[in-house]
Point group: C2
Chain length 231, copies 2
Amino acid sequence: MRISYDIKSCVSCVYRQMLFGDLSDREYELINEARTEKIFRKGEVIVKENEPIDSFLYLRQGLVKFYKTDEHGKDHLLSITKPGDFVNLLNIFSDTNYHYSVCALEETMVCEVKLDALKEVIASNSKFALRILNRIGHISDEVILNRFEISRKQIKGRVAYILIYLADQIYKNPEFRIPITRRELGELISMTTENTIRTLSEFKNDGIISMEGKVITILDYDRLHNILKTG
Amino acid sequence: MRISYDIKSCVSCVYRQMLFGDLSDREYELINEARTEKIFRKGEVIVKENEPIDSFLYLRQGLVKFYKTDEHGKDHLLSITKPGDFVNLLNIFSDTNYHYSVCALEETMVCEVKLDALKEVIASNSKFALRILNRIGHISDEVILNRFEISRKQIKGRVAYILIYLADQIYKNPEFRIPITRRELGELISMTTENTIRTLSEFKNDGIISMEGKVITILDYDRLHNILKTG
DNA sequence: CGCGGCTTTGATGTTCATCAAGTAAAGTGG
DNA sequence: CCACTTTACTTGATGAACATCAAAGCCGCG
């Protein structure tokens, strides 16, 4: 699926209301002048760990993963985010360099706003500052709670958790097509590829989900929620 | 050690410069009027999960733990924080209720500022807003990275990590007295009490640390860092 | 057509939690 | 202040959960 041209207009952008709703015309102009749109194809790296931060990035369309690579070359995913989230999480006001990498999982459109312009508008518009505070708090809280939940569950509970997360939070549909590999899915919930597959197969055999390639459908929410609680 | 009276004055407070440095006299007055100081003794609960958030809390002196209690009554620590950190982490601008509890690990002094007053000052002073953004980003980033590191290591690496964290970040000294139990230490790094003790004993036998009750001294930073990397 | 990455299942071994049991320390009430 | 109770600490033994290793089928792509 290619990103169509018409969504490029700011008018339809969720961020227009979500974030930039309180701006004056002049402030909006300032942001807009410092803004560039970028499209990344599946697999392209958007930001790299240790690179300097010089702009604020938000996701217009697509899906991205946040990750760190360890000394053995193995990736560990921190989270995946959907449109409506920031691409460079939260340390843009507190640090000079990225602590993680971000990569497109499917064709993705990102808006980039130079940090200087953003800070100027924050300085002149306190309602906007509160909105940013709100969003940053919300996103970081979500990441922290997600990782917390995953870390205290064992494998069945983890798989149940990520399936429900994908269905409810990301796709808002019990049937969805995961654009990520089983390996990445495992990296996201801190388990091996093999055990991720094994657990998915088990859920399938038990009739809790159906699975054909990348398309997964949750058939029995109740049992899945039960596994989530007990596992 | 009792908290002495003289530190109660705002003049010596680290936050006076760190956070409130840009305020006008009037703004400072506003904050000060909405501010109350509270002292909690070891073990006292400062905020409880699910309670409504109505004020901003920061730690003047002492040490606190953030935690969640699961359905079996077992606690899981999210982090511990020292003076210079916020007590109610980051969701004060994005949510209405706490997602975790906070409890004093030793005698602790907390300053409480009504959220309304804080928001009023943020609205009138954008430099202050940027400072808050900076602090929130920094704290959340630290929590996320800490938990991330812990989750991808195994037990020796985890213990090494927390020892170095305590020595470098919290106490800034290779010798320190942990005010938390071994059980809590385990809860902080997601492992059982028994394995926490076993690993500490092993480090002691190997001459990497010395340990007498609650007092721990790191003797061999090099080997500990090596375990951190490989484990 | 064949190579490399993804997917899947089974067998094996390691890591870690759990259980058990005993000592030490720290509260608690008479 | 001492007996008593509870909580913290420690070590060893066992089993469960999970990672690793191995092997084979599959799919897309040059």
